[in-house]
């Protein structure tokens, strides 16, 4: 059993063992689950060094076992730079989330931890699968624990939110299932053997019209997950109603699966279609950036504000991906990781005060920096990282994305395309400003000025208290990550470099069917060459 299989199945084993534990012992469940997730993190870190030893290239820790020989599909796992950093993000957030949820969960403890562990199996499985069927199994499996996490431990509107989440995501994936079936069948037609392996399917030659249909089916599933405007409407509800742990995992990892899906499947499998769809996706991404930011600005509820900020941030990620060049794509993926860290932390921070006061309204607070100095400091640091202050992780990602997007926009314009190509990137830049506005305004209203709500200052145990040592321990690794990536992004950019370069190469040059070259307008072909030299 390889280390990846261990990573995938250890949480599942933990979840099953949890069922054998004695009844009504929440402390035991917590400690055990935290232990499992810490072990996960511990065994995932050496993967990074293993990849480094391999020169940050290709796939490592590959394993291939017989699974369904009748369909030509095995249990095949492996990680390259892109999946590696996402696996690390998942295992990093795991213990943080678990520790953060210690006091937040007050009922049905065993079930909660069961679902958290099961969710980890599904998430890691999705990132490490190297064939479509295995990928889809984990992708769908993820829905079930999340459905329960929101539905049982969520807020007042939890049932509506979880049903919306489930139906949106499941329906989006169904058309992808037909696409998967088509690719499997097509592989059999073209080569005589059935296969679902990513690498085999990339060798198929598909006419552009078919590529467009298939890309549509895959992109819909992933765009819902990201979520891109206008299929983002499940997100504000799901994020707001989910328990803190659920929100953090949703924002931190699940949304990244959409990004990952584009990078790993939709883009390399259908390069011609990607070219045709790029202008559309850039516009959708920019709408998402601006719309998410504007809506976030007017939210009266802190958690909902953070939720809408996700729409804006993920818009940036998608803008980077569809710049179709090294900077943009690497930036897009990196920004995905940053969003996982920063927004995850923001959800945790909102969860901290909600646990104490059971109120998330911004108007309920004011001037609480005086009452909770440590909390206010951490909140401000995380806010600045979310806004993209130089020295924090957010800056690196946003900068790379905008750089990539400008190169793409300028290249298209210079090659005779419309000026709109460049203008749209300019509009995207306003998202950075809006982002600073809604986040800093939030900080100002909640933390600074006089204490507006006297009940918060009460010392009789009902007031707002500062972070406990456990909570500080929750945020310590996050702060470390924020500054580490801010000052030394090379740690994450190194593993991304070669896989992203290969992807850019694939999207720009590889046209398995020569007749489809005509579809490319000259501008894009020109821009492709320019990037490479």
């Amino acid at each position: 059993m390889s280390i990846l299989s261990l990573l995938v199945f250890l949480p599942l084993l933990g979840a099953l063992l949890l069922l054998l534990f004695p009844k009504e012992r929440p402390d035991l469940y917590k400690a055990f689950s935290l232990g499992v997730l810490l072990v996960e993190f511990a065994i995932s870190v050496p993967l990074y060094f293993q990849y480094k030893a391999a020169g940050f290239e290709g796939f490592i820790a590959e394993e291939s076992l017989t699974w369904i020989p009748q369909w030509g599909v095995g249990y095949t796992v492996g990680v390259d730079g892109i999946s590696l950093v996402l696996v690390l993000l998942t295992t990093f957030l795991g213990p943080v989330v678990a520790l953060g949820a210690f006091s937040a969960i007050t009922k049905r403890h065993r079930e909660f931890w069961f679902h958290i562990l099961l969710l980890h199996t599904a998430m890691i499985g999705t990132f490490v699968a190297t064939n479509l069927l295995l990928f889809f199994v984990f992708w769908e499996l993820m829905l079930v624990p999340m459905f329960f996490l929101i539905g049982i431990w969520g807020g007042e509107q939890r049932i509506m939110a979880t049903v919306k989440f489930f139906i949106y995501t499941a329906v989006g994936s169904l058309l992808m299932l037909v696409g998967i079936a088509y690719l499997g069948a097509e592989h059999a037609v073209q080569t005589g053997a059935w296969s679902f392996a990513f690498t085999d399917l990339m060798g198929l030659s598909l006419v552009t019209s078919m590529q467009l249909l298939l890309f549509g089916a895959f992109a819909l599933a992933f765009a819902i997950k990201v979520p891109m405007w206008p299929v983002h409407t499940w997100l504000p509800d799901a994020h707001t109603e989910a328990p803190t742990a659920g929100s953090v995992i949703l924002a931190g990892v699940l949304l990244k699966m959409g990004v990952y899906g584009f990078v790993r499947l939709a883009m390399p499998l259908f390069p011609d279609a990607v070219h045709a769809a790029t202008p559309l996706f850039i516009v959708l991404a920019v709408i998402g950036i601006v719309y998410g930011a504007l809506v976030a600005m007017v939210q009266p509820d802190m958690k909902r504000l953070v939720a809408f900020s996700s729409v804006s941030h993920l818009g940036f990620c998608m803008l980077g991906l569809f710049a179709l060049n090294q900077q943009g794509m690497a930036g897009g993926i990196l920004q995905g990781l940053n969003h996982g860290i920063s927004t995850g932390a923001l959800f945790l921070l909102v969860g901290v005060v909600y646990e104490r006061t059971h109120n998330r309204a911004i108007a309920h607070y004011g001037g609480i920096a005086k009452l909770t100095p440590i909390y206010a400091t951490i909140f401000l640091i995380v806010t600045l990282s979310s806004v993209g202050l130089p020295g924090t992780n957010g800056f690196v990602g946003e900068f790379l994305i905008l750089l990539g997007a400008f190169r793409h926009g300028y290249g298209t314009w210079a090659a005779g395309g419309s000026f709109w190509n460049l203008a749209v990137v300019g509009i995207a830049c306003t998202g950075v400003i809006f982002g600073a506005v809604y986040m800093l305004w939030l900080v100002q209203r909640v933390f600074f000025g006089p204490v507006t709500n006297p009940s918060l200052a009460e010392k009789d145990g009902h007031g707002l208290t500062d972070l406990t040592p456990r909570e500080v321990l929750v945020f310590a690794p996050i702060l470390l990550a924020i500054f580490w990536v801010g000052f030394y992004p090379k740690t994450l950019l190194d593993p991304l470099e070669k896989p992203v370069a290969a992807l850019v190469q694939r999207v720009q040059d590889d046209h398995s069917n020569p007749s489809t070259l005509a579809v490319l307008d000259d501008a894009q072909a020109h821009e492709g060459r320019e990037v490479h030299h």
Binding site: I159, L175, I180
Partner: protein, 484 residues
């Protein structure tokens, strides 16, 4: 008819003989052997039935690798037979295990009930293994008539009697249609042998109109048993009115047997030769849409399952329509998956109807997750499998069916299939939702150990073969291998 095939090979008939023997034994024992109480008598009889079905199952496995055509071409004991016989034996055994509780509650005599169940099972086995139209028809009747009676087994309930009568009248009519179709086919092909009929379908050139008419009528008769639209009108009322264990047996066993015969008569080139693909595509599309959309509007969970069973028949038709080895094997796999999931879901309904009500609404499921977590887990697994989410057999089966449809060029049907699956999310998810997210009160029967064991085993099978489907897939592929 070659003389070698005329030999009477009793070994090939062994599983069938065991089941028929069991039926007679149960009826006689019930009448003559004194038992201390009605409930222990019922439990004893159920045990006898399960042992008998176990023996039949062993006999079936003995036949593995001994494919033969015996009794003058009447009896085909090939792998297709064995696959579907296994499926209906499992359906019978599960029905026996869940019936015990129902019988005890309704103070019914066990002997007659189980006797009819076994006779119907014997009919299914004959139906499945028929190599000749005559045996096919006899099997169909032996399968159907006991079920007409069983559907009305709850004599004091008006709905049950209505179900029995409705099924009898409509079922007889469908049998008549089938018979008419078969006689036309006989008149055209000049043989009652199914092999001969398949060969005739594949002859070059256009078929005469009466051959097509015969083929379509025979199809209609079989599609009635499957519950495909527009021959589905009886399904909701009969499924809801009949005693729940009988409903499960009908939904799983009868459907599986009818698909086995559809495969035997029409699979692959035979269907293409008949040139009715478009007609079947239309029926499949309607079946998927009507079944799933109508299920949305139901308040009674049993009735919802009845409508959704129509939808599942539609998915299975996709595999038959694909006409490929993959599609036909997918039908076999899906039949197995559907049989198991049916018993888990109906089994839970039996447990819930502790006060004798036949109709269980969503409201009765409220808070089951906290009241009876284990039962709720079983039901959740069943619902996930019915939706077709991994890692359950339902997912593997649906994917295989859609894949086969896409491969055969029926992409629009596969898309319609996933869209109707999306519709089905709404009502299957509602079950999960009320069980886990709502609070509620209500009495749930204390399930007996045999019952819990059977249900748990079935749910585990859904998960295990959903994760590791290759043994069942391999079995299904070998089963249809005879035609491809």
């Amino acid at each position: 008819m070659d003389t070698a095939a005329l030999q009477l090979n009793w070994l090939q008939l062994l599983p069938w003989l065991i089941v028929v023997g069991g039926a007679l034994l149960v009826v006689v024992a019930d009448a003559f052997v004194a038992r201390p109480s009605e409930s222990s008598r019922s439990a004893f009889t159920a045990l006898t039935v399960v042992v008998c079905l176990g023996a039949a199952f062993v006999a079936t496995t003995l036949l593995w690798g001994r494919d033969a055509i015996t009794f003058g071409g009447m009896l085909h004991t090939d792998k297709l037979t064995l696959l579907f016989e296994t499926v209906v034996l499992v359906a019978g055994a599960l029905a026996a295990l869940v019936s015990d509780r129902w019988l005890a509650r309704h103070e019914q005599t066990a002997g007659g009930y189980y006797g009819l169940l076994l006779l119907s099972l014997a009919g299914m086995m004959a139906f499945i293994s028929a190599g000749d139209m005559i045996l096919l028809f006899l099997g169909l009747e032996l399968m159907s008539i006991p079920i007409y009676v069983l559907a009305a087994a709850d004599r004091d309930e008006q709905e049950s009697v209505e179900a029995g009568l409705k099924y009898l009248v409509l079922g007889s009519f469908a049998t008549g249609v089938l018979l008419f179709g078969l006689s036309l086919l006989y008149g055209w092909a000049g043989t009652t042998s199914i092999e001969g009929l398949r060969a005739a379908f594949q002859t070059e050139g256009p078929l005469p109109i009466y051959a097509i008419l015969g083929g379509v009528l025979a199809l209609a008769g079989l599609l009635f048993k499957v519950g495909a639209v527009p021959f589905h009108m009886w399904t909701p009322d009969v499924y809801e009115g009949a005693p729940t264990p009988v409903t499960a047996f009908m939904a799983a066993g009868v459907k599986a047997s009818a698909f086995a015969v559809l495969i035997r008569v029409f699979a692959g080139p035979a269907l293409t030769g008949l040139h009715v693909s478009m007609l079947i595509a239309l029926i499949a599309a309607l079946t998927m849409v009507v079944g799933n959309v109508a299920a949305l509007a139901q308040e009674s969970v049993k009735r919802m399952l009845a409508y959704s069973s129509i939808g599942h028949a539609g998915y299975m038709l996709l595999g038959l329509l694909a006409g490929s080895a993959a599609g036909t094997a997918a039908v076999g796999f899906y039949a197995a998956a559907y049989t198991i999931v049916t018993f888990v879901s109906f089994g839970v309904l039996i447990l819930l109807a502790s006060d004798g009500r036949a109709s269980i609404t969503y409201a009765d499921l409220r808070g089951l997750g906290t009241r009876k977590p284990w039962v709720a887990i079983l039901m959740t697994v069943a619902m996930l499998s019915l939706i077709g989410l991994p890692p359950t057999m339902g997912f593997v089966g649906k994917f295989y069916l859609f894949w086969a449809a896409v491969e055969a060029g029926w992409i629009w049907l596969a898309v319609l299939g996933v869209l109707t699956s999306a519709v089905s999310l709404a009502y299957y998810l509602r079950v999960v939702l009320v069980m886990w997210f709502d609070e509620g009160e209500g009495v749930v029967d204390q399930a007996g150990p045999a019952f819990v064991f059977a249900m748990t085993l079935a749910a585990a099978a859904l998960l295990v073969f959903g994760t590791m489907p290759s043994p069942v897939l391999g079995f299904a592929m070998q089963a249809v291998g005879i035609y491809f």
